[in-house]
């Protein structure tokens, strides 16, 4: 198995050699071809390091908007106050975020700081039984659509989603629906 890379996170700026605002081709020239990619009307996403690192680009301009890391072993250190964010308990991380940004933008169970330029949320670590951050996303201003835009998109989605019976037939799963 290939050794994991380790990165230094600079909140709102980048991860390792990859800087927010870089062109995708420039990133690929540094990181190589991604393991896999996925795009929709929001972003073009490239996955690296066993998909523990994701880079989101603007789908049209292919400019880097955000980087998400979901494995603390990938992090060398965080430049922001030298805190290793993914190694903290969720309680400590959340307190740290609130101290630095009392006006967190909360979407369901995801917490966004437009001051720190990070979004994150809790997960239960199965081994320790302690809540930790599921991942850390560092992003540029404008990466997060407004709540109104998101709500309207959800409303449109619910109206347009095909019936389970039709979809199950297409998938060969009609026996279950």
């Amino acid at each position: 198995m290939q050794a994991k890379n380790r990165y230094e996170i600079e909140l709102g700026k980048g991860v390792g050699l990859i800087k927010l605002g870089m062109a995708r081709q420039e990133v690929i020239s540094i990181f190589g071809e991604p393991k896999s990619s996925y795009s929709d009307n929001l972003y073009l996403s490239d996955y690296y390091d066993f998909s523990r690192l994701r880079i989101d680009y603007n789908t049209n301009t292919e400019i880097c908007l955000a980087i998400e890391i979901s494995d603390s072993e990938l992090i060398y250190k965080d430049k922001y106050q030298n805190i290793d964010l993914l190694s903290l308990s969720w309680e400590r991380l959340f307190s740290w975020m609130l101290e630095n940004d009392p006006h967190l933008d909360i979407r369901d169970d995801t917490f966004i700081s437009h001051v720190l330029k990070i979004s994150t949320g809790p997960k239960l670590d199965e081994e320790s039984g302690i809540e930790v951050a599921e991942s850390i996303v560092t992003f540029v201003e404008g990466y997060w659509p407004s709540e109104e835009y998101m709500a309207a998109a959800v409303e449109r989605y619910v109206q347009s989603v095909p019936s389970a019976k039709d979809s199950a037939k297409e998938l060969g799963l009609e026996a279950f629906f």
Binding site: R54, L124, M150, V154, V158, V161, L173, F176
Partner: protein, 136 residues
């Protein structure tokens, strides 16, 4: 001779016909799909993927429908992560459930798993759906 192997990787490969079981050994079909609790209890490593996501499915974590996945595949599912796409996807799923469309929510998750790894988790998905139907 029947041998239960708690290594989800190996069982997944055998169940998908990617490798043959050793002569004289019968690999019992592992619980790679069902409730989160039973799938986790029957597997080692990897990650157990809730369908729909744990945060929106209204059930205790252990009782939610789920399948075992390779960690890197799980990371690529639409509901995983803390960016806008994952938040919107989970909001979509929650809204479907709130509108009484839980079947549609599960189907959308199945499509998403197939997008990430086409066909690889078919057996696990069928195991999960059998359990899901029995619980209705």
């Amino acid at each position: 001779m029947r041998v239960a192997i708690p290594d989800a990787d190996l069982v997944q490969w055998v169940n998908n016909g990617l490798v043959n079981a050793p002569p004289g050994i019968k690999i019992i079909e592992a619980k790679l799909g069902g409730t989160h609790g039973e799938v986790r209890a029957n597997t080692v490593g990897g990650q157990v993927h809730h369908m729909p996501a744990d945060s929106v499915n209204l059930l205790p974590t252990a009782q939610g429908s789920a399948i075992w996945m390779y960690t890197e595949h799980h990371k690529e599912t639409a509901s995983n992560g803390r960016g806008p796409r994952a938040v919107r996807y989970r909001a979509n799923q929650k809204s479907l459930i709130d509108h009484g469309k839980t079947d549609e929510a599960i189907i959308e998750d199945i499509k998403d798993v197939n997008r990430v790894a086409p066909g690889l988790y078919d057996i696990s998905i069928r195991q999960m759906l059998k359990k899901y139907r029995r619980s209705q």
